[in-house]
């Protein structure tokens, strides 16, 4: 089942930057773990996942405004803020 396992692609999808040593270690360990998962591939399973959900009833609540933290609190816990807003690296180039 684990054919095509590509640690570089996974790291990119997961937004993780890995060293060469980390890539080798995780590729080896994930291969071993996925090998253990072969029992799932070979198991006789129901045709659907009906019944996998523990809470069956609809759990959507009404869409009503509730309390919020407020800008002062949100910017206080943010890593960087400026003028009452969260600061991030430039997203759009001036030229574009």
């Amino acid at each position: 089942m684990a054919e095509g396992f590509d640690i570089d692609h996974l790291a990119k999808l997961a937004r993780l930057s890995l060293t060469a040593e980390e890539k080798a270690l995780y590729a080896s360990q994930l291969g071993q773990i996925l090998g253990h998962f072969q029992t799932l591939a070979q198991a006789d399973l129901p045709a659907t996942a009906d019944g996998a959900r523990v809470v069956d009833e609809s759990v959507l609540r009404s869409d009503e405004p509730g309390p919020i933290l407020g800008a002062e609190v949100v910017t206080r816990i943010a890593p960087a803020s400026r003028d009452g807003q969260i600061a991030v690296p430039r997203v759009v180039d001036d030229e574009s």
Partner: protein, 485 residues
């Protein structure tokens, strides 16, 4: 006070506080002094705001003096696992990713504890983001088992279990995604209960795997565990899956001697240490001697539980932990560049090895071309496991197994082999997959290391689990035990 306060149960402390024989301040000062003296030996707590604790204690004493005591937990300290939000206190999940964060709000359970008059006491060590079974994955420091400081206390609620075993607090909160309350409870000789999925609100619990996560009580006795459970459970619209306990008190109920006990076939065989099997078999025989009907039950898909869990849990974790991007809170890398480069650097610097491993695994099982083979099949396996457990529990009241196959292992012994560590959870995982309540109760020792047994019941059968645990506890000497330190 002639007695050592750290040796007393929460129930006894409650009686003394109610009678005026004890003040919460005196109790908290004694526990703070004990923390100062011994916590460094085993690292149960990663943070304790002594001034805040004493201020809470003074407020509690003032309420009681004014005749405005709030209930059975008034003035009693409760240790808080560091993935449960308490306003004004660090909320780190034992991760460098969240090390700078001070929670701006209270979790639902923190609100419940304050409403019950409890003292919210410190931040308890854990495996980073609750991923682990040994508390070796804490980014700040490893925790050790107070019964043997060369061994792990279990995890991920290892700090909670160690704090109880060492008498640092009478009560503690844990969280349980695949056994993280029950496994450390077993290794440290205390009681831990994972409630029915939906009984306790997760509002303010840092999410790991949302279809499995539950908050639950830990204590040195079943009675104390029930006391804390009753205070925590209530419906909360802020957790869409939380329906609460309706109007039932969550205390031991019914005649435990009439319970029908199922022992799953083969669960005491392969992989279970002989001393664990002996202690758990003795528990089975105890219940039989009390009049319980004991029978063998079949759970044919039990072997699927561990792979099913690790597909579902890592898939959900890879999604839940996508929120840590260095933008709104937590660690942001000093690496400059594009937003994506900043996010990638922040995540790579902030997450530890086990968290990265699980994010990568979860990303893989959800990725295009593989999701059907892994994630969708795991959901189908989960449905099958759940159906088998519910069918078994239609014929018996509780299922009895060991909590963990072996006693606590040595620190570092399984660090290089994550798969071996994942197999620690083989007996506890099914209750999470099926959303069932389960409890670990101490039942013996292997040398000086505690051993626990595990009871699983039908949804909302907490009262039966507590009654069964209480029956065993009353006839044996394991309640209120503390490690000699």
């Amino acid at each position: 006070m002639a007695d050592a306060l750290h040796e007393l149960s929460a129930a006894e402390l409650g009686r003394r506080l109610a009678s005026g024989a004890l003040a919460s301040r005196a109790l908290c000062e004694a526990l703070i002094a004990r923390h100062q003296a011994i916590n460094d030996k085993f690292g149960a707590f990663t943070h304790l705001d002594e001034a805040d604790v004493l201020a809470q204690a003074d407020a509690s004493d003032a309420r009681r003096k004014a005749g405005q005591g709030r209930g059975p937990l008034e003035g009693i300290p409760v240790g808080i696992k560091d993935n449960v939000a308490v306003k004004g206190q660090p909320l780190t999940c034992s991760s460098k990713m969240l090390a700078p964060l001070v929670s701006p709000y209270d979790s639902h359970v923190a609100e419940r504890l304050r409403a019950a008059g409890a003292i919210l006491f410190g931040r308890l060590n854990m495996d980073e983001f609750a991923m682990g079974s040994s508390t070796e994955n804490s980014a700040f420091r490893k925790a050790f088992n107070p019964w043997d400081l060369e061994r792990i206390p279990g995890g991920s609620s290892g700090g909670s279990a160690a704090a109880l075993a060492a008498g640092l607090v009478p009560l503690a909160l844990g969280s349980d995604t695949g056994g993280s309350i029950r496994q450390p409870a077993s290794h440290c000789g205390v009681v831990g209960l994972k409630p029915t999925y939906g009984l306790i609100s997760r509002f303010g619990l840092v999410a790991f795997a949302s279809s499995l996560d539950q908050i639950g009580p830990m204590a040195r006795s079943v009675e104390d565990c029930a006391l804390l459970l009753d205070a925590l459970a209530s419906a909360d619209a802020r957790d869409m899956t939380c329906f609460g306990p309706s109007d039932r008190a969550l205390t031991p109920a019914g005649d435990a001697r009439k319970l029908r006990i199922g022992v799953p076939k083969g669960f005491l065989g392969k992989g279970v240490a002989p001393e664990v099997a002996t202690a758990v078999n003795a528990a089975v025989e105890f219940y039989r001697s009390q009049g319980c009907a004991v029978s063998e039950v079949e759970l044919p898909s039990a072997d699927l539980a561990v792979p099913t869990y690790y597909v579902v849990a890592t898939a959900e974790a890879s999604s839940n932990l996508g929120r840590y991007d260095g933008v709104r809170y937590g660690h942001r890398s000093a690496v400059s560049g594009t937003p994506v480069e900043m996010m990638t650097a922040s995540r790579s610097e902030g997450f530890g090895p086990e968290v990265k491993r699980r994010i990568l695994l979860g990303t893989f099982v959800l990725s295009a071309g593989y999701a059907d083979a892994y994630y969708v099949r795991a959901l189908r396996a989960r449905a099958k496991i759940r159906a088998e457990y519910l069918a078994a529990l239609a014929g018996v009241d509780v299922l009895l197994t060991p909590t963990v196959p072996t006693p606590a292992f040595k620190v570092g012994e399984k660090a290089a082999d994550p798969l071996q560590l994942y197999l620690e959870d083989v007996f506890t995982i099914p209750a999470n997959l099926a959303g069932l309540p389960a409890i670990s109760v101490p039942c013996g020792k292997s040398g000086r290391l505690p051993v626990g047994f595990h009871l699983v019941g039908a949804p909302l059968s907490e009262s039966k689990l507590l009654a069964a645990g209480r029956l065993f506890e009353d006839a044996h000497g394991y309640a209120h035990q503390q490690a000699p330190l």
